[in-house]
Symmetry: C2
Subunit: 298 residues, 2 copies
């Protein structure tokens, strides 16, 4: 099991968590040498060379909330919390998909982690327990309720999601959601719920969405996915039967694909093209990594 | 990889997620035949035989919020959201530890999932985005903001936590937190943060807490842990060196234990006793499962 080649993993920043709870160290890092990740809301600004653009703290609004992303050598790296954001989750700006194509792995991971963190702050300005305003604490790794009768502490959220390849007689089960572009198929996926082990969540999701019972669930790889803050847990499972009962409220379609069809579609995706049987997810998705892992086992 | 024998996994209830978003089906299940999980706040009431006590909907307060746990055959199973709870997290009532010793695996899992869910409702009565009250929706698998200008949707939270055995020359690294009873040692652990893959979180935690660099991170097993709502992700990693630099703000101690010491301590824990070198975690903890897995590999 390896994170090599997983998009949004592999940031080179040192998270330096000891600094977060040390106000003197945090303040000492907020000098003219500090680096500010340049964002337009949640969208990264890029240099002409296609890297992340970093400014200085002078580029932040004077009264803005700053989160401490970590250390680059001895320089503190920060990001600015944007103005309150609408809704529960916003679809990413189209420029984000462009940035995913050009940023190198370490920059993409740094951006993803920063995006999840500032997005969480922008949508958590109030205490879920009592409704009072909350204030950023510990360099942005906590928010504290300002109501003295409550004082609840809140922490950035990470939502575990299972995403799984289901195999039967050397075929793979892939599905498409109604929102997918035409021809796209990918691995089935769903959030882990309270009271479930990873293996139970995989089995439940496949049964719910495709009516298939699975066994021998194996972990393959994981990925932080910052839309808004998922932990994708990639697995493989064997199906007991090829019979499908598709939940049409979740999936527009689900089908079995042969090893040859999967291999051709993954190769086509590398050229930015649709395969003959389906269009495979791009390399930034952990589903692409899972398909490559499966092809390599064959 | 298997969930067999993992405490808090293996509920026999059918989550029947299709029912949650169907108000007519939900209402049709709330008859005299429906089952209500009897809780005192977050603490389970037990039958004289040591099972979960189930009542009927008549046992719930008339104006209480009910969450739909799932189906037992064709009977809906529900739990009542307790009155608003204090703090961010409360230590479990001592009766909960007793219940963990007597409940069978399926009942313990049903209780754990129910506890996480009703605890989340009791601490999330307000919208984190705008501060307005929220209302329970979809059978308790969602809360909706009542502010028409906001309308944010909120979902039950599951926090992924890595917990890892670190190995060097057939010794295991275990640590103790200051809050542990005297003599107890367990696997190091820490929350997965935004922007991290599982493997990265394991490596960061071990480096932060013990100053040890690890490689070859492997997934072993997972466990839902309902205090309040963690997903424990159990891993194994190899250390590059036995030299320790312990973070004394996180750990009171960390030490290498031999295979013989671990085997003796795990056997002693089965008898409810401390081992000669240390006291091992009990069977309800995924750390106990990880230690058994490691001993079985040797």
């Amino acid at each position: 099991m390896s994170g090599a080649g997983i998009a949004f993993a592999g940031s080179k920043l040192d998270r330096a968590d000891n600094v977060r709870s040390n106000p003197e160290q945090l303040a000492a890092l907020q000098t003219w040498r500090a680096r500010l990740l340049r964002l337009d809301g949640l969208t990264p600004l890029l240099t002409p060379e296609g890297g992340l653009e970093w400014g200085t703290l002078a580029d932040a609004a004077p009264d803005s909330d700053l989160v401490f992303l970590g250390l680059d050598g001895d320089r503190g790296c920060f990001a600015e919390v944007p103005a309150p954001l609408g809704g529960s989750v916003a679809p990413p700006d189209p420029r984000v998909w462009q940035a995913m194509m050009v940023l190198d792995a370490a920059d993409l991971a740094t951006y993803g982690g920063a995006r999840s963190l500032v997005d969480w702050h922008a949508r958590h300005r109030f205490c879920a327990r009592c409704g009072a305003p909350t204030l950023l604490a510990k360099g942005g790794w906590q928010r504290n309720c300002t109501n003295d009768a409550c004082k609840a502490e809140h922490f950035p959220r990470v939502d575990p999601v299972t995403i799984m390849l289901v195999e039967h007689q050397d075929n793979l089960l892939l599905g498409r959601q109604p929102r997918f572009p035409a021809g796209n198929y990918s691995a089935l996926a769903g959030f882990v719920e309270p009271g479930e082990a990873i293996e139970e969540a995989v089995a439940r999701e496949v049964l719910e969405e495709a009516g298939v019972r699975v066994r021998d669930v194996r972990y393959v790889a994981s990925q932080p996915w910052p839309f808004p803050s998922s932990l994708m847990i990639g697995c493989h499972a064997m199906a007991d039967s090829a019979d499908l009962t598709i939940d049409r409220t979740e999936l527009e379609d689900a089908r079995w694909f042969t090893r040859a069809e999967v291999a051709e579609a993954v190769a086509a995706a590398d050229r930015g093209e649709a395969g003959q049987a389906f269009r495979a997810p791009t390399r930034t998705a952990v589903a692409n990594h899972l398909l490559r892992w499966w092809l390599a086992q064959g």
